[in-house]
Amino acid sequence: VVCFTVVEKKDGKTTVIEGVIDPTSEQPQPPNPTASCPIYRWNLQNKYNYTDVLLLSQFIRSDGGMLPRRITGLCAQEHTKIVICIQMAHRAGLLPDHKPPLPEGHVPKPKSNPPLNRYLTRYSVKSVKPIYKTGLKWCKKRMSVGHPALKNNVRYSPKPLYIKH
């Protein structure tokens, strides 16, 4: 899809009408243009993860919030998957510039502990309780990693995806 602007030039009696192609507006064509969801248009159904920040940043606002589905045109399942990936990316610290704006003149309190590194966090940090009694082997309370919505993602290694650690 190419966008161009029409430019008219007059030299006395001759008028030249030219279509000037804007070089920044030349977009590559999606491989599957006849699909309602942008992810199905580009055949990225099971191929993205929380690390693909370039893809995820196209669907978020500048303060990190998600854009509504009626605007982006995503189908329901892909919208939820992208929301999950964006949450995991925020918690892993991969989107440092998309934080909500602090009120003016607000000095952040000196934090007693520096933020801990984490990745593939399913639940929000403040909502999780410690597992004081894990239980016996046959009824162990496992710690969940990642999200079951992403279990159909393409795996290039023979090992299966472990969600319960």
């Binding site: 920040v53 370039l54 605007i71 991969l94 989107l95 590194n117 966090t121």
Partner: protein, 179 residues
């Protein structure tokens, strides 16, 4: 190498090497399994459980370890000294704040064989919270091991050309603002 003299070949097989692992943004379990393999000597073809052929392992940046999932809040380390009322349960986050090397130390301790050689192997493990290592250990290091986990890039680490080269998946409608 077979081109060495016999004494040099013998020295090369039985010498104790020093490995370096950078634990920045790495899961502590994977680091601990790599450490335990090399502390026991299982990476050598001359391995035998009774012969003391483990190597030294130095782990740096243990303060910047990364747990997957919500393990910082969910994983609980319990200890009991035997006296009544001394049952302590600490979450991984509290443990890490108290002692940044404790998580890897306990992980490696649990992965080593449960016999009397375990204590000597733990003495050969050297843990450091940051990348500042003492001089005598720096002089002994022979090899650095590759990190088990690929660190994902943040959005700020991508160059403007890479961001422009990535195509826009969807076009926003003209009357929508606030992005």
């Amino acid at each position: 190498m077979s081109s060495f003299s016999r004494s040099a070949q013998q020295w090369a097989t039985f010498a104790r090497s020093w490995f370096l692992i950078d634990a920045r943004m790495q899961p502590p379990g994977k680091i601990a399994s790599m450490c335990s393999v090399r502390l026991q000597g299982k990476h050598k073809p001359i391995y035998h459980p009774m012969s003391d052929i483990g190597d030294h392992v130095v782990v740096m940046n243990t303060r910047h370890i990364a747990f997957s999932g919500n393990k910082w809040e969910q994983k609980v380390y319990s200890s009991h000294t035997g006296y009544p009322g001394s049952f302590k349960q600490l979450t991984a986050a509290q443990m890490h704040k108290k002692d940044p090397t404790a998580i890897i130390k306990l992980a490696v301790y649990g992965m080593l064989p449960k016999n009397l050689t375990r204590r000597t192997m733990m003495q050969r493990l050297h843990l450091f919270t940051d990348d500042v290592l003492p001089e005598d250990i720096l002089k002994n290091l022979t090899e650095e091991l590759p990190q088990p986990r690929e660190i994902p890039r943040k959005l700020s680490e991508y160059t403007q050309e890479e961001r422009d080269a990535f195509p826009m998946l969807w076009t926003p409608p003209e009357d929508y603002r606030m992005k």
